[in-house]
Amino acid sequence: MEETWQNEEVQPSELPLVEEVSFQKHPVRYMAYRRLITTMFWSIPVLAICIPAILAPHLWMAYAGGGMAFFILISFISIPIGYRKRSYALRERDLTYKKGWIFSSMITIPFNRIQHTEISRGPIERKYELSTLKIYTAGGSTSDLSIPGLETEEAEQLKEFVSKKAATYE
């Protein structure tokens, strides 16, 4: 492998800063979508507790119900807070996605490392006219990024933009 390093000087102050990019929010109805998903998710364990609690009440069911109520509360509170934290940004050479309230993360994928992109739309997403953009990199699934809850048109445009950019590096 021929590797010729050009050793031009880089001033840290001149580097583009990822934290100063303007981030784009998801459409507001993403929250409604999240509420429906969360309700559906919790309905099964809630029923699993409630039905026996009505038929044959026990003290431990009250404890379990209380504990569960706490987690249900947290997960509904985290919908609007998480919505505000969830945003993406495009730069000339990369895409950055931020999310999370209790556990937050920011991930940046440069276009020259993207393998392929994909749009998926589940039945519930379709109801809200939302789409998920999936971005794949090489080597297993750990670094794959999926951006849920995009306007369908926005997702298509994003996919177009990203895959065109990624193609220029091949």
Partner: protein
């Protein structure tokens, strides 16, 4: 080249070595044997099954032998339109074709049977979905080598002509400077060769502390059972007598522990001898070649540009012997979990480490600029671990021995101290060329990763860390990810921005 390969035209469907029948035969008989063994469980209950098995065994063997012959007959391979094509199958005919430019690596392996027959298996791994592996199980050695070199050479040629015109000019000018070296002819430099003595040392210096912990847990569990029994039967006896018995119990536990330790040492010795027998690693100009193994001998060749990072590990014992072990991680399609192409070199001396690093990553040099993990954050994390482990134990011991049992909580302090000490070692050295990651106190770990090999970067936090302005930085590569924890948020972002710049600046292939 021998007579055989001269008359051998790779563009015509070719059968494997005729000895391949034996390879299939033994495979099939093995399958038959497992089938029969599972039947025997049933047969033992009802004698009629024995007669059925007795009558059917000979026809079955003939059937399986015929099957082996047909498997051999129907297996052909050839190259057509820059594709490697394999036909196989007896009842269900199968045709597999792999574009040569998609071939990621080619492995030559042999197990005991192949070795006795003087054959090797050629395994071709391709980029793409899992299970996309081709295997030619019975080839003569020189044919396998010839085919492997041919495939590599063809791949190079295809990639060269497909490349951008700029690159073409540069490679052709290079070619006029120095003629292209046939990968087979090139001698390379032997990086490491492990003899029996080295392997013994490696086996003895495996991480016995880990197995030791398991052993201790085992003995504790056993001893406590024993103690309960003792207390039940010996209640009311004189104290001195009871303590003598308890001593005997302790001696028994200790001897068990020693037994287990010996067992684990023997086990790891055996594993090391089998896996790394006559290990030889050679650094060539474009690839690393390694061969090892006692019963199952593996030879693999990994192009240097596929290697994403190198990781060194050691432990106090191995350090004492003057060794470190290195792992070379190539990019792969399946992901970190089942990376079969990972090269493991269990024993390298300090000088060889340096040579490996600069040999695989030219110009690798540890950057002066570094950021550190917060040792107090590690101490907090380990305190939580300690609490989770020792708090229930303390409660248990309190009921057993009253207040003196709570003394075990002191061990929590030990955990926290270890966490602090560990955190002290966590460092991320970086510039726009290389990333060096250090962590671990008793079991130090070091990773060298060219900055441009990163595929994406992640900064993750939780609510508590955000308040303390700390975060974890993860570098994802095509061979798995590396995370450095509890970095100062601002410093981590500086590294984030610089590394992203390094990746985006880089042109050309990284895997």
């Amino acid at each position: 080249m021998s007579e055989k390969s001269k008359e051998w035209d790779i563009h015509e469907p070719t059968r494997q070595s005729y000895l391949g029948v034996m390879v299939y035969l033994i495979r099939n008989f093995r399958a038959l044997a497992t089938l029969l063994i599972s039947f025997i469980a049933v047969a033992a209950a009802a004698p009629i099954f024995w007669t059925i098995v007795g009558f059917s065994i000979v026809p079955l063997m003939i059937l399986f032998a015929l099957l082996a012959y047909w498997q051999y007959r129907n297996f052909t391979f050839h190259i057509e339109d820059d594709k490697l094509i394999i036909h196989k199958g007896v009842l269900v005919k199968d045709r597999k074709s792999v574009p040569i430019e998609r071939i990621q690596s080619i492995q030559v392996t042999k197990n005991v049977i192949q070795r006795l027959l003087g054959l090797v298996a050629l395994k071709v791994d391709t980029a793409g979905s899992r299970g996309n592996e081709l295997e030619i199980p019975a080839l003569e050695r020189d044919r396998a080598d010839a085919l492997r070199n041919l495939l590599y050479a063809k791949k190079e040629a295809i990639l060269d002509t497909d490349g951008i015109t700029d690159e073409n000019i540069s490679t052709s000018s290079q070619e006029s400077d120095k003629p292209r070296i046939d990968p087979r002819e090139e001698q390379g430099r032997v990086l490491v060769k492990l003899g029996l003595f080295d392997l013994l040392k490696v086996g003895l210096t495996e991480n016995h502390l880990k197995t030791g912990f398991i052993a201790i847990a085992f003995v504790f569990g056993y001893a406590s059972q024993y103690q309960e029994l003792l207390q039940e039967y010996l209640e009311g006896y004189v104290d001195t007598y009871a303590s003598q018995v308890a001593d005997a119990g302790l001696a028994f536990a200790l001897s068990l522990f020693v037994l287990y330790a010996v067992f684990s040492v023997v086990l790891s010795l055996l594993r090391v001898l089998l896996k790394f027998w006559e290990l030889k690693a050679v650094l060539k100009s474009e690839a690393v070649e390694i061969s090892s193994g006692l019963l199952q001998r593996n030879e693999s060749r990994i192009p240097k540009k596929k290697i994403q990072y190198i990781q060194w590990e050691t432990n106090p014992l191995r350090k004492l012997a003057g060794y470190e072990s290195a792992t070379l991680k190539p990019s792969n399609s399946v992901g970190e979990v089942s990376n079969k192409q990972t090269i493991e070199i269990p024993a390298l001396r300090i000088a060889e480490n340096e040579y490996l690093a600069t040999g695989v990553f030219p110009g690798a040099e540890q950057p002066d600029n570094f950021i550190k993990g917060d040792p107090w954050a590690y101490a907090r994390l380990y305190s939580i671990f300690g609490f989770v482990i020792f708090a229930p134990l303390a409660v248990l011991l309190y009921f057993q021995f009253s207040y003196s049992g709570i003394a075990i909580l002191l061990l929590m302090g030990l955990f926290s101290a270890y966490g602090y000490r560990y955190g002290k070692t966590v460092r991320l050295h970086f510039d726009e060329h290389y990333v060096y990651i250090f962590k671990g106190w008793l079991f130090p770990q070091r990773v060298i990763l060219p900055a441009y090999k990163a595929q994406s970067l992640q900064l993750s936090q939780n609510i508590l860390l955000r308040r303390r302005k700390l975060g974890h930085l993860t570098l994802f590569t095509a061979a798995g990810s590396k995370t450095v924890r509890f970095l100062n948020e601002k410093e981590a972002l500086e590294a984030y921005n610089l590394l992203m710049y390094a990746v985006e600046k880089h042109e050309g292939s990284w895997m």
